[in-house]
Subunit: 558 residues, 2 copies
C-alpha cells in the first residue's frame, strides 16, 4: 500500500519518535504512537468505517503490527474524546494486553467503558481533566480543553526532554458553545510562548473557508420547526452528539412536548451523559419509548439514530414501514446531522421513503439543522497564530485535507520545510526542536468481519468486488487423468450471473472436448485440467456474453 | 416493485393516455408514452446509471413491456435533448423496430446518430427546431426552445383533441445564456393563454431554493485560474457540456494557451458540436493530443472526461499515474462539474491522488466552476405563473423532487388535487381538461450487463450483494444415495471468505457425518443431501465465524 517502505535506524535515547498508525490520509482509525527512551505512549485508538470498495467489512482497525511486540512498554493510551474513530479500536488493542491504562476525560472513559463491557473487558483507567498534568515515565502530559461535537474533549501536550508536542484531537473553536467550555486558547498561547516543537492538528475542515457556524444557532431552528409541526416530530442525529440532543430536548420542552429516545446507542449514550451531568434533562421531559404511544401526536418528539441511512437503524426501518412507529401524513422528520460522503444514496433513499409516507423531511439541504464539529480554515489560522509551532504534522484527514492544513500553517509563517505531509506508518523523530522523517513502515488495513479480525485480506476484497460485479460460475468434473475423459460432470453452478442454468448446456461439450484434447497433448494432473476448464469457460462467457464472472473449476482425478 | 398494480380500462377514442415508463421517482431513464386513438408518441428514451446496490450493472433501461406489442403503432420518438438519460436507451428500442422515426433538434439528432452508428443502426430522423409545428397522426407537436446544460434543447407541446400537454424536458431559465437562446417564456405565455391542460416539468432542482446561477459566471473564474496557473491546466467536465467547453476554450485563448481534447466521448462530441456550429473554436486554439506534448507546459490546457471519478476515464488514470500525462507539481486540475450523489468517494479518491502528485485541484467545493443545468424553485415559480397549467405531473426526479415541484405548483395557485405524484407505469388519462389516474402497470428495471439486456434479474443482484458482503463456499460431494456415504469429496472451495482453505478441514467430518445420519433417517435424493450440506456448513460458519457467506452445495449421486 505505502510508497517507499524503509526501516528507521534504531531510536537513540533522548529522541522522541512519532508514528501515526492511522488517521493520516483518511478520516478514521486515529492512532499515534510516541516513543521515548524505550517507553511508548499512544494517543487515540479508533476505527475507520469501510467504503463501497470494501464490501462486507464491518470495521477497519489501525495496524498494530509495529507495536505488537512492544505492548509491555506501553505506558498508556490517551483518548482525546469519545467518538468511534478515536476509541473504537480500544477493545481490539486490549485483547492483546488487557491492563494497558486508558487515560481520558470523564465522559470519554464512561463511553469506552460501556463499549468494553460488551467485550467483557474491565479496563484500568485514569480520569483527567483540562489543566491537569500527569507524568508517565518520560512523558509529561498536560491536558487542554477543546470544543468539539461531543462534550469533554481534550487536546494533550506531551512534554519531553526531546521537545514539546501538542496533539489537538478533534476540535473546533465555537466561541459560545452550549456548555461554555471553549477551546482553551489561553493554554495554547502559554504553550506557544514556552515553545511547541511539533503540532499535530485536526485537518478535517482545513479546506473549508471561513468559520464553522455556532452550535447554538441550531436551537432556534429546531424550536421553530417543532412549533409548526402538526403531528409527531422525529429527530435523527448521532448518538454521541450530546449538545445536539440537548437542543432537541430544550426545543421540545419549550413547545410543551415530551421526548423519547430511540435506538440502542442513543438510549445508552444519553443515559451516560445525563448521569454524568453532560446532558441536562428538563424535569419531566423524557418518556420511555414504550409509553410514548400514549402521548398525543402533537406532544411528542422522538430522538433517534440512523441519520446516515444505515439500513438497520431506526430511521431506515421507519422509511420502510418496518418500525413500530408508522410515519404518516403530518409527521415531521428532522435529520440534524452531516451527510458523510458515500452515504448520499442511502440517505436520499430514506428521505424519499419518508416523504412518500407523507412526512415533511427537514435536513441540512433545506434548513440550518447541522454544523460541523471541526475547525474550518479561519479557525485554524487563529490557532496557528496563537501557537506559532516550530513544526507541523497535520493529522486526521484525507490527503487533500492534510495539504490544505499545511498550507494554512505556511500562510501564518511556518516554514514550508517544517510542515510534514506523511502517510500512516511514517516514522518521525524529534530532537532539539528538529523534526526529521526517518522511516516508513508498511501499514496495512486490518478488517473486522463478523468475529474475525485481520483474516479478510485485500485479495478477499478483490474477489468480493469481482463477485459483486460479475457473479461466479463453478464447474465440477471428475476426470480420468489418462484420457481426459469426464467421468462425472461437468456440473455447473452459477450465482449472480443468470437465472437460467440451461444457458450452460452450450459450454458443457466444449469443456469435455477441451479436456480430451489436453489429455492428448500430455496434460495429466488435476491442476492443469482446472486451468483448461477455466480458459474454456472464460473464453466462452466472454465471447457469448461479454462478461467476466469469476470462474471456479474443481477437478477430481477419477 | 410498484404498489397497487391495477390494469386500466380500455382507452376510449378521444381520450389521451399518458404513461411514464421511466424518470418518475428517479433521475434517469426518462421515457413517456402518449396514446390517442390507437397511435403512440414517445417523448425521450434514456438510460439510468446504476447505484451501489446494483453491482456490475452497466445501464438500466426503461421497461418497454407495455409497448412491446404496440411498436407498429408508434409514430415517433421525440428527443428533447442529447443527454444519455434522455437518448441512451434509443438503440435498445430501435433493436425492437428499426424504423421508428426519431424527432429532435439538429445537435440532439447528431449525438444519437453517432451513438446508433456504434450499434450499426441508421435511423429515420426528422430534424425540428423551436417554433416549428409538426403533425403526427392525432398529435400536433409544437417545439419550444429551452435552455439547459447542452445546447439545442427543446420542450414539446402536444396538442390533441383531448387537450394540450406541455412536456419541458430538462431545462433552466438562465437569462443570459452563452448562445443567447433562452427558455422561450413568450411561447410558454402564449400556450398558457390558450390553455395547457397538463404540464410535465423537470423536477431535478425543485427542492433547491432560489435561482440557478448563470453559466456565464464561470468563464471569468476559469480565466482567472488559468491566468495564474504556472504549468499545465487540465479541466474535466461532461463531454456533452458544449458551453462549459466553450468557456474553457475562450479562457485558454485569452491566456494564450492551446487546448487538446482528451477522452473518446469528449473528442467525438466536440467534433460534432464544432462541425454543427454549436462550439465556436477560436482560430488555432485546438491542438491534437498527440502534438500537445510539444507545447510548453504553461501554454496548454487539456479538456478531459472523468469528472465523476469513473475508474477507466482519463482523470482517474492520471491520478493513478496510468495515463500518458504524468501530473506533477505545478499542474492545475479543474473539475468543472457537478458531483453526482453516490460518486463522492470515487471523486475524492481522484482529488487526493492528484494532490498527492503535486497538483493544485480546483473543484466546485472551493471555486465557482460549476452551475446546474436545471431550474431551481425560483425559476419554476416563474414558469408556473406564466403558464398557469390546469394540471401538473412533475417528472424527472426522485420522490422528494416531485413533491417539492408539486408544492411549488400549489403555491402558485394550481389546486392540490390537480397535482399528480405518480410512479413509473402510472396510467394517466386526459379528456376535456380533466386528468385522472386510471391504472398502475407493473414496471421493472431492465439491466444491461455486458452484451445481455434484461437477463440479469433483481434476484441475481441480490445474490451479487450477498457475494460482495460475504463471499461464498461451494461444497462438492459424490454421495452413495443408499448409505449417504461420501464417495468423492467433500471438496470445498471458497472465495471472498478467507484465504486459508485449511480452515475447512474442521467442517468436512461434520458434513460426512450429517450425510450419513440423513441417509439413516431415510434421505435418498441429491437435492435433500444438498440441503443437509447447506445447513451443516451454514451452522458451522455462523457459529465459528459469525459470517453468512453464500453456500453452494453440489451433490452427485454415485
Amino acid at each position: 500500500m505505502n510508497s517507499h517502505i524503509y526501516q528507521p535506524a534504531a531510536l537513540k535515547p533522548g529522541t522522541l519518535r512519532v508514528i501515526p498508525l492511522g488517521g493520516v490520509g483518511e478520516i478514521g482509525r486515529n492512532m499515534t504512537v510516541y516513543e521515548l527512551d524505550g517507553k511508548l505512549l499512544i494517543v487515540d485508538c479508533g476505527v475507520l468505517f469501510p467504503e463501497e470498495h470494501q464490501p462486507g467489512v464491518d470495521l477497519i482497525l489501525p495496524d498494530f503490527t509495529p507495536i505488537r511486540d512492544r505492548l509491555d512498554d506501553v505506558l498508556g493510551v490517551v483518548l482525546t474524546h469519545g467518538h468511534e474513530d478515536h476509541i473504537g479500536a480500544v477493545p481490539y488493542l486490549l485483547r492483546l494486553r488487557q491492563d494497558i491504562p486508558l487515560i481520558g476525560s470523564n465522559l470519554t472513559l464512561a463511553l469506552i467503558e460501556a463499549k468494553l463491557k460488551e467485550h467483557r473487558i474491565s479496563p484500568y483507567t485514569l480520569t483527567v481533566k483540562e489543566g491537569q498534568t500527569e507524568q508517565f515515565g518520560p512523558f509529561e502530559l498536560e491536558f487542554v480543553a477543546v470544543n468539539h461535537s461531543i462534550p469533554d474533549a481534550l487536546a494533550v501536550a506531551i512534554k519531553t526532554s526531546a521537545g514539546v508536542v501538542l496533539h489537538t484531537g478533534d476540535f473546533k473553536m465555537d466561541q459560545l458553545p452550549l456548555d461554555d467550555r471553549i477551546t482553551d486558547l489561553r493554554a495554547f498561547a502559554r504553550l506557544g510562548e514556552a515553545g511547541v516543537d511539533l503540532f499535530l492538528p485536526d485537518s478535517t475542515n482545513a479546506d473549508v473557508p471561513g468559520f464553522t457556524a455556532p452550535e447554538r444557532g441550531i436551537g432556534p431552528v429546531l424550536e421553530g420547526i417543532i412549533a409548526k409541526a402538526p403531528r409527531r416530530v422525529i429527530v435523527a442525529s448521532f448518538s454521541s452528539h450530546v449538545h445536539r440532543v440537548q437542543q432537541v430536548l430544550d426545543a421540545a420542552h419549550a413547545n410543551g412536548r415530551r421526548v423519547a429516545f430511540l435506538g440502542r446507542s442513543m438510549v445508552r449514550n444519553m443515559g451516560i451523559a445525563a448521569e454524568l451531568g453532560y446532558l441536562k434533562v428538563p424535569e419531566g421531559v423524557l418518556v420511555d419509548f414504550k409509553k410514548a404511544g400514549d402521548i398525543p401526536d402533537d406532544k411528542i418528539v422522538y430522538m433517534s439514530t440512523g441519520s446516515q441511512g444505515e439500513p438497520m437503524a431506526v430511521l431506515s426501518r421507519m422509511a420502510n414501514l418496518e418500525h413500530k412507529i408508522e410515519v404518516g401524513k403530518g409527521d415531521t422528520v428532522i435529520l440534524a446531522s452531516s451527510l458523510i460522503p458515500g452515504n448520499e444514496n442511502a440517505v436520499y433513499r430514506v428521505i424519499n421513503g419518508l416523504i412518500k409516507l407523507g412526512a415533511n423531511v427537514v435536513h441540512k439541504g433545506n434548513a440550518k439543522v447541522h454544523v460541523s464539529g471541526h475547525a474550518s480554515a479561519g479557525e485554524l489560522l487563529y490557532c496557528y497564530n496563537i501557537l506559532r509551532p516550530k513544526n507541523v504534522l497535520p493529522v486526521h484527514g484525507e490527503y487533500r485535507h492534510l495539504v490544505a492544513n499545511a498550507d494554512l500553517a505556511v500562510q501564518t509563517g511556518v516554514p514550508e520545510e517544517n510542515t510534514f505531509i506523511v502517510e500512516n506508518g511514517a516514522v518521525i523523530d524529534l530532537r532539539d526542536g528538529e523534526v526529521a522523517i526517518v522511516g516508513q513502515l508498511d501499514i496495512g488495513f486490518v478488517y473486522v468481519d463478523g468475529s474475525t479480525v485481520g483474516e479478510i485480506t485485500d485479495a478477499d476484497l478483490k474477489d468480493r468486488r469481482i463477485l459483486a460485479e460479475e457473479g461466479f460460475i463453478s464447474i465440477f468434473a471428475a476426470v480420468d487423468a489418462q484420457t481426459g475423459r469426464v467421468i462425472v460432470g461437468p456440473e455447473i453452478q452459477a450465482r449472480g450471473f443468470a437465472e437460467d442454468e440451461a444457458v450452460f448446456d452450450a459450454v458443457k461439450p466444449l469443456i469435455v472436448r477441451a479436456l480430451a484434447e489436453a489429455a492428448e497433448n500430455g496434460t495429466r494432473d488435476s491442476h492443469a485440467f482446472s486451468q483448461v476448464i477455466r480458459r474454456t469457460v472464460g473464453r466462452w462467457v466472454n465471447t457469448q456474453h461479454r462478461r467476466r464472472p469469476m470462474i471456479v473449476p474443481v477437478v477430481i482425478e477419477a
